[in-house]
């Protein structure tokens, strides 16, 4: 099959035939994946799934000290298992063989924004829980916008690969390249964080090829949806809630979610809990895992809810708890604000003060932004210092980095 499998960062096109050849040649399968380029990362994932060998995935930018802290020795890092060469005749064989290895396991690490990264172990089912596989999806072309070593990226990868779709790498690229790749390769599906999507604006272009947009990893932003629909008028937009511990858990058409299966999700005291069996980690003898994600109900029957933030991100300002996500949201409510970041800066006078960075489409002053916030937030939630900037740094998972 001469269909393109992957368009790499440097523009090289690798076909499914080439992939099949590489897999049939494979005699040694890595147990630890520590690769830089997307093709090699995916190849090691596929080979391990194909041969049913557990794979541990490391971020390409982990330092040796970080890897040591994860208790992975130099020796383990390069350990490979000898396997029997395969004779896969076609891509359908390959996909069927992978899907038959449901017990295959993948170990990966949380982004590690706080302290030592946590290890999570997942079976194939975690990645295929929301898999849509049918003839309807055979012509999908995926813009690959997540880190390939993180759970969201691996989920998108399986969605695309198990449908034998073309995958176009657009992770960590600049706006011009991303937009030109969408056109050049006729990308139909995008899955990324709101921060990633915001980076694509402003643009006057309209892209008709995009049919489906999935947003996840950060709080959903209705204003962003409106902007996305202007640029991608043929797209259906959906919002997912996922975690490193359990993969995708909930899916919705907009900002509001509801629990479709009460056996694996529940809300208590405005916190979301998920059933311990869904987790890829050992957490001891408890039935429900506290995700730390805070929600609020939006209807009287307490069925629909939206995410409002995370408990460990709350900033203590003189004894009051400020939710950075709520404040970023309020800043983004201003028509000229494209993106905002709010964080707490330690300070000898008061402990912590709230700071903000904002990217604007039209010139705005700190004063104007403050006046805008006054109508929306309590006084203690208004950042004391607001910087107007051109760039806001993001984490390796493509979320806003709050420092």
């Amino acid at each position: 099959m001469n269909k393109v499998y992957l368009v790499s960062k440097d523009g090289k096109q690798i076909t499914y035939d080439q992939l099949l050849y590489d897999l049939n040649q494979c005699e040694f399968v890595s147990q630890v994946c520590y690769q830089k380029d997307t093709y090699s990362i995916f190849l090691e994932i596929i080979a391990s799934a194909l041969h049913g060998i557990t794979l541990t995935i490391l971020d390409a930018d982990f330092s040796s000290a970080e890897i040591e802290a994860l208790e992975i020795s130099e020796d383990t890092k390069s350990r490979k298992v000898k396997v029997q060469k395969l004779l896969l005749a076609c891509i359908d064989d390959l996909i069927a063989k992978i899907l038959s290895n449901q017990d295959w396991e993948l170990e990966l690490f949380t982004s590690g924004t706080t302290g030592v990264p946590k290890k999570a172990k997942h079976k194939l089912a975690t990645f295929t829980r929301y898999l849509r596989k049918s003839a309807k999806h055979s012509s999908d072309v995926w813009g690959f916008a997540y880190n390939p070593t993180h759970i969201a990226g691996i989920q998108v990868f399986f969605q695309a690969f198990l449908n034998a779709n073309t995958i176009v790498d657009i992770f960590g690229m600049n706006r011009e390249t991303i937009l030109s790749r969408i056109n050049e390769h006729g990308i139909t599906n995008l899955s990324a964080t709101p921060t990633y999507y915001r980076m694509l604006f402003p643009t006057n272009n309209v892209f008709l090829s995009i049919r489906r947009i999935t947003s996840g990893g950060e709080r959903f932003d209705p204003k962003l949806t409106a902007s996305l629909l202007r640029v991608f008028p043929n797209a259906k937009i959906s919002n997912v809630y996922a975690s490193t511990e359990a993969g995708t858990i909930l899916e919705s058409r907009g900002e509001y979610f509801s629990i479709s299966d009460a056996s694996y999700c529940k809300i208590e005291n405005n916190r979301l809990y998920i059933r311990a069996e869904l987790l890829g980690m050992e957490i001891g003898q408890i039935d429900w895992y506290d995700t730390g994600d805070l929600v609020e109900f939006v209807d009287n029957d307490q069925e629909e809810f939206r995410f409002v933030g995370r408990d460990n991100e709350m900033i203590n300002v003189g004894g009051y708890k400020a939710n950075p996500s709520e404040i970023e949201h309020a800043l983004c409510d201003h028509p000229d604000v494209l993106q905002a970041k709010v964080w707490g800066k330690t300070n000898p006078v008061t402990g912590t003060i709230l700071m903000a960075e904002v990217i604007c489409s039209n010139q705005l002053t700190e004063r104007q932004l403050r006046d805008h916030l006054k109508g929306l937030l309590q006084d203690f939630k208004i950042p004391r210092v607001i910087y107007i900037t051109n760039e806001i740094s993001t984490t390796r998972s493509g979320k806003i980095k709050r420092t």
């Binding site: 003189g318 800066k345 000898p348 006078v349 008061t350 003060i353 700071m355 700190e366 004063r367 004391r384």
Partner: protein, 74 residues
Amino acid sequence: MLDTLKKIVNTVRENKGIDPLDAITPENDLRTDLGFDSLDLAELTVRIEKETGVDVFADSFVITIGEILAKISK
């Protein structure tokens, strides 16, 4: 330097909705003369640090404009 400091002081004053001052002097007390509470002082330190690179509250509490001037001109 007094001018830079006046500008910063007035930004903080305007942010809290009080009128800017025409002049400040080294004798001015940050709390009683300029009307700053602790959050205003925190904001003031961040803005001074941005302009001058000096964290004026880092090692001791400052009370007057003069004490700030002494620290940032070191």
